[in-house]
Symmetry: C2
Subunit: 194 residues, 2 copies
């Protein structure tokens, strides 16, 4: 998505440790026009898939998920991050490791909000090692829900998550696929620049 | 807002300890049509106030804030909850006590995203003791930003936050004001039912 890649080039900052800071328009301050355009793009990609629920994970997935859900006219469910090892019976839970924050948590969703009737589009802001996305797929599998695919804002293609999950059969549509990045330059996949 | 009050009566559940569960349509699963209507209502109330930024706090404020911001066509900034006592120089921070979770955290906003030029509408899902709202006002004051008011989804008027903050001069518009609640009955303020 050229609009997004241009914006990442303009306002993103690459920090040591493969960190891409996009907090001025994605995950601390939110540019609602951009988010609306991204939601519309996911709708274009997945409109024929019978999506009846959008699943994301707190916190920074919620904004994109809301804008996306508006086009599909379906509810958003956001998984919660639980640090507790006490998982109550009424939730589905899957372990997630955050490489960014160096910690582990459980992605949890109340059982009432996911079922075998659901056709789920998973939305998240970043895909790198894929641990959060794998956790959300796991939660859907526990519920017997079908995952029609994932919509990711920024994929770091030089990290293994996207490749591994696609190899496992998951459809993933990432709006900006970064093939390489340094503080001086960000290289996007050719498709991202369309 | 009658639409919201009707929904709370239908799908909300009052649990012991003055807890109102609205997770099936507000803070775990999100009804995007309802959220859109709420955003439009805040716009009707605050459209003439020169709002140029919406401020909320992760996680459950983000959805309402996004839908509201869409009508104002301004950015959303969501404060982060930090458990760390190490607050870096580049953020504003204010202490918040969560009565629901029985813990303390800092509401933090990067200094780059709030300034003396800003006219801020604060959005949050609940107002009870007012600690989070007070923290967000505090952060704005540190930045020199003007708070034009707050838009709250559900206010528990039998807890002291709303009264105290209004007495201190803050404009607060709550879409559903609960005067009393028991597992059998929820009493809304007459204005909420219009």
């Amino acid at each position: 998505m050229k609009l997004l890649c241009d914006r990442i080039r303009k306002d993103g900052r690459v920090l040591p440790g493969n960190v891409l800071k996009v907090d001025s328009f994605i995950n601390h301050q939110i540019d609602v026009r951009l988010f609306r355009a991204m939601g519309e793009e996911y709708y274009r990609m997945y409109r024929d898939c019978g999506v009846n629920k959008i699943l994301t994970i707190e916190s920074s997935g919620i904004g994109v998920a809301c804008f996306t859900a508006q086009f599909f006219d379906v509810p958003v469910v956001f998984a919660k991050k639980s640090r507790s090892s006490n998982i109550p019976d009424e939730v589905y839970a899957a372990p997630v490791h955050s490489y960014t924050h160096g910690n582990d948590y459980s992605a949890t969703v109340a059982k009432r909000f996911l079922s075998a009737e659901d056709r789920v589009l998973i939305i998240d802001d970043f895909l790198a090692n894929g641990s959060a996305l794998r956790g959300l797929c796991d939660v859907c599998e526990q519920a017997g829900a079908a995952v029609v695919g994932a919509g990711i804002v920024i994929e770091k293609a030089f990290q293994p998550g996207g490749r591994a999950l696609r190899a496992a059969g998951l459809r993933i549509e990432s709006l900006a696929v970064i093939e390489a990045m340094t503080p001086e330059e960000i290289v996007f996949s050719p498709d991202s620049l369309l």
